[in-house]
C-alpha cells in the first residue's frame, strides 16, 4: 500500500495533490509515500502549513495502488475525485487528457 495527499484549492475548489514542489493538478504528478508515517509527516508539515497559508483546504491522505504501471486511488471516492464524475467524461480532470 502506498499513499498520496490530496486537497481542494481554496480559490476555485479544484482537486489538487501534493507534489514534490507544491500542489499539482494530476494524480500522476503527485508525490507517492511508501510509508503511512511519511505521509502523515508530510500532511502535518507541508499540507497543513499550506492550509494555514490559504492555498488549500481540507487536506487528506488516501491509499493508492499501481495498476498496469498507472497510479490510481484504491478507493472509489478518491478515484472519482482524481478523474471527475463517472457519468460526465467531458468534465473534471479526465476531460483534460
Amino acid at each position: 500500500m502506498s499513499y498520496a495527499i490530496s486537497a481542494n484549492r481554496l480559490s476555485d475548489g479544484a482537486v489538487v495533490f501534493l507534489g514534490q514542489n507544491g500542489w499539482v493538478e494530476s494524480l500522476a504528478s503527485a508525490e507517492i509515500f511508501a510509508q503511512r508515517e511519511a505521509a502523515e509527516a508530510a500532511l502535518g508539515e507541508r499540507a497543513h502549513a499550506d492550509a494555514r497559508r490559504n492555498l488549500i483546504i481540507e487536506p487528506l491522505i488516501f491509499d493508492i495502488r499501481a495498476r498496469d504501471g498507472v497510479i490510481e486511488a484504491s478507493h472509489i471516492r478518491e478515484a472519482i475525485r482524481a478523474k471527475g464524475p463517472t457519468i460526465r467524461p467531458d468534465l473534471g480532470k479526465q476531460a483534460v487528457r
Partner: protein
C-alpha cells in the same frame, strides 16, 4: 409571482456585499477556513468532491423566464454550461470558483434570487406543490403562504441557529404533490365545516437516516395564525430539540421521543401564551401577497382544442406525451405541461444552459411567463393553452426535452451521489441511467404505468428513497458500492415508508433485481389500472421478495 420590494432588494444586496467582503478577507488570509465556513454555507456555497457547489434557492419552485435565463447565463459564464435541479426545488451549480461566487450572487440578486438559507441549521427554502395555482384539484394556491413563511423566516434572529435544519412544505390540493408528511412542518390548506379555509398542520416528518412520517397535530388552523403557530412549533423545537447528537437533532426525533401528545400540548401552550404583536397575519396582508400570485389572464375557449385532439389522434408520440406529461388545469382549455429532465439514459435533474433558455422562451411565449421546478427534478409550465401544447411539444422535442415519461418508471429521482457529493457512499446517477435505459419511455414503460423509483447515494436520503414505490439506497460495503431495495413507500397523501427487502445487490446486479420486481408486479396485478403501490399494499412484500431472491421458485403465486 412575488416581486421584491425595496426592503427585499436592499437586504439581498447587503448580503452580497457582505459575502464579497468575506471572500476577499478569506483569500488574503484575514479569515481562517474555520471562521469562513459558516459564512460560506450561509450563502449556499458548499465544498463537494471536485469543486465548490452553489445551491441557489428557488422559492417554492417558482420562477419566471428572466430568472431562468439568468440561471442559464450563470451556467455558461461561471460554471460548465449546465445546472442540476434538486429534490428541494433548488438549483445547484457543481463547478463555481470561490473567487467568482460574489459575482454570481450579484447576478442572481439582479433577478431577485439568492442562495441564502440553502444551508445551515435554519428554516430552509419553503417548498410547495409544483402545480400550485394551476391544478384542477386545488382548494387554494399555497404559494402566498409559502411566500409569507419565506419572508418571516429569512434571517429570523431567533431561528438562525436551530438544533438542525428545518424544512416546511405547503400544499393547497387534495393530492399531495409536495410530500408534506415527510417535512418538519407540512401545511395543507383545508376547509372547515363552516366553509372557511385554513391549514391542517403536520409536524415531525422527515427522511434521512431515521425516516418518520409526520403527525397531524391540528386539524384546522386559522390563516391569521399561520406565523404565530409556526413560531410556536419552531420555538418548542429550538428550546427542546436535542443538540448533543446531530443525528438526533431534528424535530422528528423530539416528537417521537416525547410523543405526539406532548408535542401537541407544548405547541398549543406556546401558541396560547405568546404575544400576537407583530405576528398576527391580517387578512389585508394575506390579500396583498395573494395579489402577486393572481392567476394570469386566461383566454376563453368555447370547446375542446382541435389542434390538440387531432395531433393526439395522428401522432402516437404526442399522444404518449399528452397522456403522461399534460395534467388537468383548473381553467378550461388549459393544461399543465411537465418537462421531463429524465431523458432516457440521461442524468436526472440536469439541464443545459441552452435547454434552460428554451424553457424560458416557451414560458414567455406560451406559458404566461411561469416556470416551476418540481421536487421530482422536472420542470413545469403550469399554464399552457391546449391549443399551444402542440407547438410547445415540437419545440421541446428539438431540445431533447419531450421525453414522455412523467410519473413512469424512467422518471427517476436520483441524488448527485458519489459522482459529486462528499457525503455519498455510492453512485446514484449511473444506476438511474441504466434503469431508465432498461425500461425506456415506450410501450413497456406505459404498460408498467405509475411507478416511482427514487435513488439515494447515502443514508441522508436526498434521493427520497424512503418514499419511493421502489427505493434504492447506495451504500459502501468493504470499499464496494452495494444497493439496498425498499418497497411500498409513498410521499403522497397516503404517505408510507418503504420496507427493506433484504440483502443488497451489487452495481452489476441492481438493474436485473429491479426488473424482477417489476416483472412480478406485472404478473400479479389484477388489471392494468392497478398500479404498483396498490398491488404492493394488497399483497405485501412476500411475492416480491420471492421474485427478488428467487426463492419459492415454482410455487403457486
Amino acid at each position: 409571482m412575488y416581486r421584491y420590494d425595496e426592503f427585499d432588494a436592499g437586504f439581498v444586496a447587503d448580503r452580497v456585499a457582505a459575502f464579497r467582503d468575506q471572500v476577499a478577507r478569506r483569500l488574503v488570509g484575514e479569515m481562517t477556513e474555520e471562521q469562513f465556513r459558516p459564512h460560506r454555507l450561509m450563502n449556499g456555497l458548499y465544498l463537494q468532491l471536485h469543486a465548490y457547489m452553489l445551491r441557489v434557492a428557488i422559492p417554492y419552485g417558482t420562477l419566471n423566464a428572466r430568472q431562468m435565463r439568468k440561471l442559464a447565463h450563470i451556467a455558461r459564464r461561471y460554471d460548465k454550461g449546465y445546472g442540476h435541479f434538486t429534490t428541494r426545488q433548488n438549483l445547484q451549480y457543481n463547478w463555481p470558483s470561490l473567487i467568482d461566487t460574489p459575482a454570481i450572487l450579484e447576478e442572481l440578486a439582479s433577478v431577485e434570487m439568492h442562495a441564502i438559507q440553502t444551508s445551515g441549521n435554519c428554516i430552509r427554502n419553503v417548498t410547495a406543490d409544483h402545480f400550485a395555482g394551476a391544478a384542477a384539484d386545488e382548494l387554494e394556491d399555497p404559494r402566498p403562504y409559502a411566500e409569507i413563511l419565506r419572508q418571516w423566516s429569512s434571517i429570523h434572529p431567533e431561528f438562525t441557529f436551530l438544533p438542525r435544519k428545518f424544512k416546511i412544505a405547503v400544499t393547497g390540493a387534495v393530492r399531495d404533490r409536495a410530500a408534506i408528511q415527510v417535512h418538519d412542518i407540512g401545511y395543507q390548506i383545508v376547509q372547515n365545516e363552516k366553509g372557511v379555509t385554513g391549514f391542517a398542520v403536520y409536524v415531525g416528518g422527515g427522511q434521512g437516516r431515521t425516516p418518520l412520517i409526520a403527525v397531524k397535530i391540528r386539524d384546522f388552523l386559522r390563516k391569521e395564525d399561520l406565523l404565530a403557530y409556526t413560531q410556536a412549533i419552531v420555538r418548542v423545537y429550538n428550546l427542546e430539540g436535542r443538540r448533543d447528537n446531530k443525528y438526533k437533532a431534528r424535530i422528528k426525533i423530539l416528537l417521537h421521543e416525547k410523543g405526539a401528545d406532548w408535542m401537541r400540548a407544548a405547541v398549543e401552550t406556546e401558541f396560547a401564551n405568546a404575544s400576537r404583536d407583530f405576528i398576527e397575519l391580517p387578512s389585508k396582508e394575506i390579500a396583498r401577497i395573494q395579489d402577486y400570485f393572481a392567476p394570469p389572464k386566461f383566454r376563453k375557449f368555447a370547446g375542446p382544442s382541435e389542434n390538440f385532439e387531432s395531433r393526439r389522434e395522428s401522432d402516437p408520440k404526442f399522444a404518449a406525451f399528452a397522456s403522461t406529461n399534460v395534467d388537468a388545469h383548473q381553467q378550461p382549455g388549459y393544461g399543465i405541461v411537465t418537462i421531463s429532465l429524465k431523458p432516457i439514459g440521461g442524468i436526472p435533474g440536469d439541464a443545459s444552459a441552452d435547454q434552460m433558455d428554451i424553457v424560458a422562451d416557451l414560458a414567455e411565449r406560451f406559458g404566461h411567463d411561469e416556470i416551476r421546478v418540481s421536487h421530482e427534478q422536472n420542470l413545469v409550465l403550469p399554464h399552457v393553452a391546449l391549443d399551444d401544447i402542440v407547438t410547445v411539444f415540437d419545440a421541446l422535442a428539438k431540445s431533447n426535452l419531450a421525453t414522455a415519461n412523467a410519473g413512469l418508471i424512467s422518471d427517476i429521482i436520483a441524488c448527485p451521489g458519489l459522482d459529486y457529493c462528499s457525503l455519498a457512499t455510492a453512485r446514484s446517477i449511473p444506476v438511474a441511467q441504466r434503469i431508465s435505459e432498461r425500461f425506456g419511455e415506450g410501450a413497456r414503460a406505459r404498460e408498467i404505468g405509475d411507478l416511482k423509483i427514487k435513488i439515494s447515494g447515502c443514508i441522508n436520503a436526498c434521493g427520497h428513497h424512503h418514499v419511493a414505490h421502489i427505493g434504492i439506497l447506495g451504500l459502501e460495503r468493504k470499499g464496494v458500492e452495494t444497493y439496498q431495495i425498499t418497497l411500498g413507500g409513498s410521499g403522497d397523501e397516503t404517505c408510507s415508508l418503504g420496507t427493506l427487502t433484504g440483502p443488497g445487490f451489487s452495481s452489476e446486479e441492481i438493474v436485473d433485481a429491479i426488473e424482477r420486481i417489476v416483472d412480478r408486479y406485472l404478473l400479479v396485478r389484477e388489471e392494468a389500472s392497478e398500479d404498483f403501490l396498490t398491488v404492493y399494499r394488497r399483497i405485501g412484500m412476500g411475492p416480491f421478495k420471492d421474485a427478488l431472491y428467487q426463492t419459492n421458485v415454482g410455487a403457486d403465486i
